[in-house]
């Protein structure tokens, strides 16, 4: 075959190949439809599952997402590191990246700040905290994408950790203004005419409460309820709220800003200070909307619980509907043991507990709890019959509400008054005893299986109060540390679930909001500091002794003494029984800040439940000091000021922690 013939054949073959390639090339590159997007494809596979055995075993760690760790520079919009009232850059990826830090600390459940899209900024403060919802169905882009949130939950579950999401049902963000002078634009320095109306200054963004609804007025006098006008400024995300129902003015109470939190009308129907517009949570459509939007977040993330904001600002009937319907909907998909607890920012234990009780409480009960008098309201049957009208499928509502609440009464009466201020310890005993009257004593149906009174959420401080150390800022450093460590030990050994505010382990000492919302990454996530090490040890002890997690409580010693008395400042309690098997622990705290105290006074010793002859080892003492239960059933020990002892039977003692 000649070379010319060969070339000709090659040429023809190339022509054919080219024609074929031209026709087939589209198939080779028509890939976008089936292109691999593994990360997201996996994200769509959310199957609801239960990751909690008993919530009492958990240790909650509260994360202000914007302040914990910045794992993704891609979502650092409008970050201002010089102003803690503005976004700092923390995000969900940062939490994923730092789970090792949390694991080392020993916490088991992450409570993350609200995930929904917020008003960006209002009055030079950002919605970094998450409580200014604009779109209840979309993510806050500062924190990442839904896929990242899903990954956060997945990663937590892989590490046998749980995730609790913070939610709000009381209000939306700064969605609208009251057009009080009917000029169609928001005015921030408005005053009426005087004369029959005393001269008062108003801001149309956040006017003071008016039980009639915020009134419009002109130069001729009042002009009826002021219309509300939804703001529209996409740059700050002041756009009408979502879901669409919340664009309807009728779903808002429109009464203006609450200034008297003991006025039931203001408490339930007033806007939350800061211009946060109060929703009419007695409406069936509002109730159902919140069930839908918040069920959806669990269905799309498989998170394990909800921390609920501003509970006391919402009617009991809402909580009955919301918690029961949500439990039911999630349980149908396999998500049981779903924890719902919340914030009743109040020191009155009966008010706290009322949101966990099973009686059919109504607005009149709230009025009474707030110290106001009122005629009897509807009977339980009448009340529940009204609420039942909101239930489309006829499933009967009961008195069940929330699984637990933050133990604010303990925060004030024990942590603040006793562990920081060395007041008498008998108040703690009294408070604990009243819990079984004030709180629900039966588990909620389809709930977590634990009675609310058996599982208060114990905490030292949180994002709404100044940090524990801030209130001791005038004390010597070693005293501050000792008091903090004792308080940490207390909330982690008292009955209930401990909740640690991020940064406590780094001995943060910020004052009130926003000073108490420091950037954790400024510490370099140091794990060598004394408070980190102490917290880690305390949590390890809690994990080692079931009685500290699931045991019941018997106060063994409390005192009214705060002076030179031998037992001044002593508070001791036993943890045993309930579901803790044979585990047994006695916690003995000396809250006196001056001298060592003992568990006896004027010849009376501390009687304990352990049999005489039981050898108890102080798991906290370096030398593993031991004590024996005397023949009269008492234990006598001396505890240094601002210190504690953890006595466990020698048969149960686990060395090395």
């Amino acid at each position: 075959m000649s070379s010319t013939m060969a070339r000709t054949r090659i040429n023809h073959a190339l022509h054919r190949a080219l024609r074929a390639a031209v026709s087939l090339a589209p198939l080779a590159v028509l890939a976008p439809g089936c292109a691999d997007f593994r990360e997201l494809d996996q994200s769509t596979e959310v199957e609801l599952s239960v990751h909690v055995d008993d919530w009492r075993d958990e240790v909650i760690y509260q994360i202000l997402v914007d302040r914990f760790a910045n794992g993704d520079r891609g979502n650092d919009y409008l970050v201002n590191h010089d102003d803690l009232a503005r976004y700092q850059g923390g995000d969900w990826q940062g939490i994923i990246d730092r789970m090792g830090y949390l694991e080392e600390l020993g916490v088991t459940t992450l409570w993350i700040s609200p995930v929904v899209r917020n008003v960006e900024t209002d009055a030079n403060v950002d919605g970094y905290h998450g409580y200014w919802a604009q779109d209840f169905g979309d993510v806050n882009p500062h924190f990442g994408s839904l896929a990242t949130l899903q990954e956060l939950v997945r990663e937590a579950h892989r590490r046998d950790m749980k995730v609790i999401i913070d939610i709000v049902t009381n209000h939306v963000g700064q969605a609208f203004f009251y057009d009080m002078n009917l000029n169609g634009v928001p005015d921030i320095n408005l005053q009426n005419n005087g004369g029959a109306m005393p001269v008062r200054h108003y801001t149309e963004y956040d006017p003071d409460f008016d039980p009639r609804r915020i009134q419009a007025f002109t130069s001729l006098g009042e002009a009826g309820p002021a219309p509300i006008i939804f703001q529209y400024d996409p740059a700050t995300n002041h756009v009408p709220p979502r879901p669409a129902l919340f664009e309807d003015p009728a779903v808002y109470n429109r009464k203006g800003r609450t200034y008297d939190f003991d006025d039931p009308d203001q408490l339930l129907h007033g806007d939350f200070p800061g211009g946060l517009k109060d929703l009419d949570t007695k409406r069936c459509d509002v109730k159902q909307e919140f069930v839908d939007v918040y069920a959806k977040w669990i269905e799309s993330t498989n998170a394990d619980g909800y921390r609920i904001d501003t509970i006391k600002h919402v009617e009991y009937e809402f909580w009955r509907f919301f918690t029961q319907r949500l439990r039911q909907r999630l349980a149908e998909q396999g998500k049981t043991n779903f924890l719902m607890f919340g914030e009743v920012f109040d020191g009155r234990d009966d008010l706290l507990g009322s949101f966990t009780k099973h009686e059919i409480l109504g607005d009149n009960d709230l009025i009474r709890l707030l110290g106001r008098t009122i005629d009897d309201g509807p009977t339980d049957e009448e009340q529940i019959a009204v609420e039942q009208e909101c239930v489309p499928d006829g499933e009967p509502l009961t008195g069940d509400q929330i699984d637990s609440v933050f133990y604010f009464s303990q925060h004030f009466q024990a942590v603040r008054d006793v562990f920081a201020s060395a007041q008498s310890t008998d108040r703690i005993q009294a408070l604990w005893q009243s819990r079984y009257t004030n709180w629900g004593t039966e588990p909620n149906a389809m709930g977590i299986g634990v009675a609310p009174a058996d599982m208060p959420i114990n905490f030292i401080d949180n994002h709404d109060v100044s940090r524990f150390l801030f209130n001791l800022r005038d004390r010597p450093a070693e005293v501050r540390q000792a008091l903090l460590h004792n308080a940490l030990l207390f909330v982690n050994t008292a009955q209930g679930v401990p909740c640690l505010y991020y940064g406590t382990e780094q001995a943060f000492e910020g004052g009130n909001d926003p000073a108490n919302r420091e950037r954790l990454w400024d510490t370099g996530f140091d794990t060598t500091g004394p408070t980190f090490q102490w917290t880690k040890r305390v949590l390890a002890l809690r994990a080692a002794y079931p009685a500290l997690r699931r045991g019941g409580t018997n106060v063994a010693w409390s005192t009214t003494h705060t002076g030179d008395e031998s037992d001044a400042g002593i508070f001791a309690f036993e943890r045993f029984g309930s579901d803790s098997g044979g585990s047994y622990v006695i916690m003995v705290f000396n809250t006196n800040q001056v001298h060592a105290s003992s568990t006896s006074f004027e010849g009376t010793g501390m009687a304990v439940s352990a049999p005489p002859g039981t050898v108890l080892i102080d798991a906290l003492s370096p030398e593993q000091a031991s004590y024996m239960v005397a023949s009269d059933g008492t234990v006598d020990l001396v505890v240094e000021p601002m210190k504690a002892a953890m006595l466990v039977p020698d048969t149960e003692f686990e060395p090395g922690i």
């Binding site: 022509h15 589209p26 990360e39 990246d97 994408s145």
Partner: protein, 532 residues
């Protein structure tokens, strides 16, 4: 001036005047003898060079078994090789020639939607149908010289580009201008097969016409380079340049007090770093048969680099921006028949780090250390043309996967692709009708409701069908220009595609769009855009 009498006409009866004395000849206004002689020498030199080149090429062609090529001048503009191989006579840049030259690429589009709104590009992907792209033109002026002293050639290229809107659209004396080329290229200086260049230059390889896309290499650089042709079909190109994207990652000014108690403030560039881009490209043509067919493989690479810098995040407080780097590797396989621009180019390209964002794009969605580390782009592309008789078919398609540097998936992480086919039938030599069908799709790194209570990744799709009758004075050929066109383009968007647009954007509201336009497109004599 009236015509004089014809040579064969009858003589006039008028008396012939006496001749006047011859005036002194005026000083010569043309070239001097010396100048004419110099010109002649230069022409002789050029002719010798042409002859040498002709013989050289003839020898090479004979070795390869193909007829001697027509091109006899130094090889064409190197950085702007066409889709089909640059060495082919039917598809090449202008030759070197002494003097001033003008070239141009341009398109003007006059149109809108069926409701009278002005049009804009309706693609959701980075490279989709170009039927509704906007007006753009390049005006190129060149100066080309032969230097006898060094036996070399020089080309100075200045290309000014104009983008919409034009004055006649807005009535405003306000035009968007850009200097796309401003460089000198020396050819044959020192080494006959070496070209050196420096300046500002569009520096790119083969494009996919239907996508208006240079998939393998497309740099717009301030820099310089060297091109060495080992043979007429083997070439190595090296280049390095610098640029500075307008981004706070590269440039930042801050006000500072003036020295020596002068009142006022000065703007001080506290961050002023550049991106250094270098590239290397090697290509070779394997000739197949004697009809001009061949295969052209290309390998290509880039490096990107930016030194560390610092920027002011708050007054007098700085943060460090880490050193950045990036890379590109890619390859192209070109196949061509040598007839009527029939060819197919397949491209693969991968980029990482700083380079994954492209040459001018400042990185965004950064890694935790404020760098572009971890960003990736992968690209597959195919472009081609096939013509037979009165029929032609253009192909353009690509698939691209981009992940930005941030570790989480977000809206800017995407997979996308497009496929466009444009068959054409020519009606005689002066007109034709093209039909273009295209499909484009995009997945983004966000989850959306799947409509049944779950979520799924956003997957948006757009389909487009257009019909384009045209007239052309240049006869048949998909790359024959100029064209005057009429275009009707139907665009269909699914719900996900509509969701990509903000509220109240008509593209977010319309499932179907109609685009109607009159257009003109041309190219000629341009170093940066040339096709037959």
């Amino acid at each position: 001036m009236a015509p004089g009498p014809a040579a064969d006409s009858e003589p006039a009866d008028e008396p012939v005047p006496e001749p006047e004395p011859e005036p002194e000849p005026p000083p010569p206004s043309g070239p001097s003898v010396e100048e004419v002689q110099a010109l002649q020498r230069r022409i002789d030199t050029l002719e010798r060079q042409v002859e040498v080149l002709r013989q050289s090429q003839a020898e090479v062609a004979e070795e390869l078994g193909k007829p001697p090529p027509v091109i006899v001048q130094p090889s064409d503009e190197p950085a702007t090789a066409p889709s089909a191989p640059a060495d082919l006579p039917y598809n090449r840049a202008p030759d070197y020639a002494d003097g001033f030259h003008f070239g141009s690429y341009g398109r003007v589009v006059i149109g809108g939607d069926h409701r009278g709104r002005a049009f804009r590009n309706g693609d959701i992907v980075a490279y989709g149908s170009r039927l509704d792209e906007s007006t753009y033109a390049e005006l190129e002026l060149r100066r080309e010289d032969y230097w006898e002293a060094t036996d070399s050639f020089t080309r100075i290229v200045a290309t000014m580009a104009v983008a919409a809107p034009l004055f006649h659209q807005t009535g405003s004396f306000d035009t968007t201008l850009g200097m796309r080329n401003l460089y000198i290229e020396e050819s044959g200086l020192g080494l006959k097969k070496l070209r050196l260049w420096a300046g500002s230059r569009m520096y790119r390889g083969d494009d996919i016409y239907l996508l208006n896309f240079w998939p393998l290499d497309n740099l717009n650089t301030m820099g310089g380079g060297a091109i060495y042709g080992f043979t007429d079909h083997t070439e190595l190109r090296l280049h390095a340049g610098a640029n500075q994207p307008r981004s706070p990652l590269f440039y930042q000014q801050a006000a500072r007090p003036l020295p020596y108690a002068q009142p006022g403030a000065a703007q001080v560039p506290v961050l002023d770093r550049q991106k250094v881009v270098s590239s290397a490209r090697f290509s070779h043509i394997f000739w197949l048969g004697d009809s001009g067919a061949g295969i052209k493989p290309v390998v290509y690479g880039e490096t990107h680099y930016a030194n560390e810098g610092q920027r002011e995040v708050e007054p007098r407080r700085f943060e460090t921006l880490p050193r950045e780097s990036g890379w590109v590797v890619g390859t192209q396989l070109g196949m061509f028949t040598g007839k009527r621009s029939t060819h197919l180019n397949l491209v693969f390209r991968a980029a990482g780090g700083l380079a994954a964002y492209g040459e001018f794009n400042a990185p965004h969605q950064l890694a935790p250390d404020n760098s572009s580390r971890g960003a990736r782009e992968y690209l597959l592309a195919a472009g081609g043309n096939y013509e037979v008789g009165p029929f032609g078919l253009l192909l353009g398609s690509y698939w691209r996967s981009f992940r930005n540097a941030s570790p989480s998936l977000d809206f800017w992480d995407l997979n996308e692709g497009a496929l466009i086919l444009r068959p054409t039938v020519w009606l005689g030599e002066i007109a034709g009708i093209s039909v273009e069908g295209s499909y484009q799709a995009q997945r983004r790194g966000v989850l959306v409701d799947d409509g049944s209570g779950g979520t799924k990744p956003l997957f948006a799709q757009v389909g487009r069908v257009g019909i384009i009758p045209f007239v052309t004075p240049g006869g048949r050929g998909n790359f024959t220009r100029p064209h005057i066109t009429f275009t009707y383009l139907l665009t269909m968007r699914d719900a996900a595609a509509r969701s990509l647009y903000p509220e109240h954007d008509v593209f977010g509201l319309r499932k179907v769009d109609h685009f109607i336009a009159l257009g003109a497109e041309w190219w000629f004599g341009s170093t940066s855009y040339f096709r037959d």
